[in-house]
Structures are given as structure tokens and as C-alpha cells.
């Protein structure tokens, strides 16, 4: 059997996979990290988003063997060891940015990448565009957008600059 070695949420794993095993299957079925969801399996919904070496990717559209040597972060890896939620998780809770919660792990992972990659600031329009790859059937998105805008100052340690749009 082919083997793949990767680091998931800070822990190193070497596991046997088939070449056709998807990264999301490795995470959910081999490692038991079921926080990463499969919504569509057609690369469109974003429920499966994880970070691969810091960048958000759809783990249903990647082979596990392609992640050889990579550092993967899933929703389970965001909170601190003592259980303190990541600011993005906390703001999703505070702003009611979820209803059924199915899309939430992928939403949060995309949102964390979006905020991290925009240290210069983030307009509401940019947040909405940044969520193009994530579908939510419940919330209507408004509270998700609010939660992300509220997480920006917490993650960057300064006030969110007023967008020059």
C-alpha cells in the first residue's frame, strides 16, 4: 500500500492509503477528524475546506498522496489546547453565524485564511467575494459576513480600517 506522511494539527502521521484516497477521506476516515465535512463532493460547496501549508483548499478535490510532507490544519486544530476558541469561532458564535452548522467548519477555515491574507483591511464586499467557494443553505450569509468583520480586529490586534471603496 502507498504511504503518506503529513502533519495534521501539529501531529505527525504516517498512514497507508490508496492512491485514489482523497485528503478528506484520510482526515475523516483514517484519522477520525470528522469536523471536516463533505457537502457536495463536486468541488463547489466548501464544506471540506482545510488549510494546506497555510492556504485554504478543498480537501475533497485533492488526493491524500498529494499532501505528502504538507502541514494540514482542520477545524479541530483551530482552538487552543485548553479549549479556548479561535477568535473566528468565537465571533461565529457571538454573531449567530450558523444555524445547522454543516457549512461552518469550511466557512471558518476559509474565513481564517481570508482574514490572515488581508492584513491591510477587508471590506464587506471583499468578505462576500472571499466566501464564493463556500455555500450555506441556512443563514443567508449576513451574519457570517458580520462575524468575519468582527474577527478581523481580534486576529490583527488593531481596528479594521474603513475600506476605501
Amino acid at each position: 500500500m502507498p504511504q503518506v506522511s503529513l502533519t495534521v494539527n501539529g501531529t505527525h502521521h504516517t498512514v497507508e492509503v490508496e492512491n485514489r484516497t482523497l485528503l478528506v477521506e484520510l482526515l475523516r476516515e483514517t484519522l477520525g477528524l470528522t469536523g471536516t465535512h463533505v457537502g457536495c463532493d463536486t468541488s463547489q460547496c466548501g464544506a471540506c475546506v482545510v488549510h494546506l501549508d497555510g492556504a485554504s483548499v478543498k480537501s475533497c478535490t485533492m488526493l491524500a498522496v498529494q499532501a505528502e510532507g504538507a502541514k494540514v490544519t482542520t477545524i479541530e486544530g483551530l482552538a487552543a489546547a485548553d479549549g479556548t476558541l479561535h477568535p473566528m469561532q468565537e465571533m461565529f458564535r457571538e454573531h449567530h453565524a450558523l444555524q445547522c452548522g454543516f457549512c461552518t467548519p469550511g466557512m471558518v477555515m476559509s474565513a481564517v485564511d481570508l482574514v490572515q491574507s488581508h492584513p491591510e483591511g477587508l471590506s464587506e464586499h471583499q468578505i462576500r467575494e472571499g466566501l464564493e467557494g463556500n455555500l450555506c443553505r441556512c443563514t443567508g450569509y449576513h451574519n457570517i459576513v458580520k462575524a468575519i468583520a468582527a474577527a478581523w480586529p481580534l486576529m490583527h490586534g488593531k481596528a479594521l480600517p474603513v475600506a476605501a471603496e
Binding site: 463536486t42 468541488s43 464564493e132
Partner: protein, 264 residues
Amino acid sequence: MYDFAYQKPSNVADAVAALGADPEAKAVAGGMTLIPVLKQRLNRPSVVVDLAKTGLAGITAGAGSITIGAMTTHAAVAHSADVQRVIPALAALAGLIGDEQVRHRGTIGGSLANNDPAADYPAAALALGATITTTKRAIKADDFFQGMFTTALEPDELITKVEFPAATKANYQKFRNPASRYAIVGVFVAQTAAGVRVAVTGAGQGGVFRHTAMEAALSKNFSADAIADVVTPADDLNGDIHASSEYRAHLIGVMARRAVAAAA
């Protein structure tokens, strides 16, 4: 998905050898097209040859052109200061492909090799008169695209890089399918040292094509008014549940006028 063997060669020569050794072998770049195709069992490669370690990623700005390695992701092109400076329309186009997660994996080489009739990069390559360098030769964009999902590439031939000449004016306007993110109609207008070119994606039954009537009108007068009366026949255009061929013909005019008006 059917199972397959998997190889990750560490250089281009080994990748070409792996593809040449087996007619059923298939290269994978970002996998944003190939993996969905494999999931649907529409393709059954014996070996998947991963190009990730072949060193084909990177962007260089030359005198009057931008050269992009085949494995460069859409996100890297969209965020490149060099591309934004030399051909801002190309950076903007890359930022309109799919969504951020797709842009983190999908590559320019994979997009051009796939030649999806609704893909964005083929419009830029054709309008700017790009040169596509492969492991065998250099191919002009005019000769590269040969109809829907068809290119001049041979089975064991890989794209290594793409050179885009700088434009004095260029713009890309995309009318998206809101669900799939692909272009229902996309029009790339470019004025380069070689003249004015207009390339249309999303609409043609044979994939990306040049709109020569608009090119002639814009060569005389580069303004949106100059193409206001240019008629686009609907005969050879796609019609589907998203848009009829007549509607696509109409959109080509609208998108082209917007692109000319916005071209900088």
C-alpha cells in the same frame, strides 16, 4: 474513483518519460479539473503523474512581456505585483477564476491544456497573442487551441511556460454563471504591438475564438462606439439551460463594449 498508480517525478524530463512510457498515463497539476473527472469515472488513467515537484512554477517579468510557469497557481498570478504592473487585466482575470480555494490549487498550464470552452485563460492567451512553450516546441496561441477540450498538445508533451506580450490597453469582462463560476461569456480585448485583438470564451461551440469583425472596427477606432453596430451571429454559439445562443451573442456585444471602455 478507479484506482491508479501514482508518480511524483522531481524534474520535467522524468515526467515526460513517465507519460511517454504509458499511453494511459495522465498528468495532474492542480487537479481542479482532473480530480472531479476521475471522481465521475469519465477518465481511467493507469498512472497519474504529479507535476508538483517539477519546478515549473514562477513568474518573470521581461522587457515587454510576462512569462508564467505552467505550475503557477491562479492565486499566484492574481496576486503577483509584476503581472499587476505589466498586464493588470491578466491578474484581474486570474482573480475571477472559480473561488479562492480553487485558485490556490488550479494552474495556468492545467487550464490551457484542458481548454474548457468556458475557461478564462484561453481568452487572455488568444487576445494577447501568447506563446505557449512545451517540452517539444513553442506554439502560438492561434495554433494551440483547436476546439472544445482540444489543443495542439501531444499525449507526452507538457506545457512548461507561457509568455504574454505586454499590452498598451487590455481588459477582460466576464459574465459568470453564478453557480459554477465559469464564464457564460467572457471577452478579452487587447491592444498590443501586434494590433488589436478580441477573444471570446464561454460562447463558441468550438471553444475560444477571435472576433475579427470587432478587431477590424477597433483597429480603426479603439472605442466602445466603434463596435456598437457590429453584429455577432448566433449560429455557431452555444445554447444551453443557462443561456440561449442568441443571448450569448447579445452578451458578447455588451461584454466587449464594457471591456473596451474599461481597457487601460
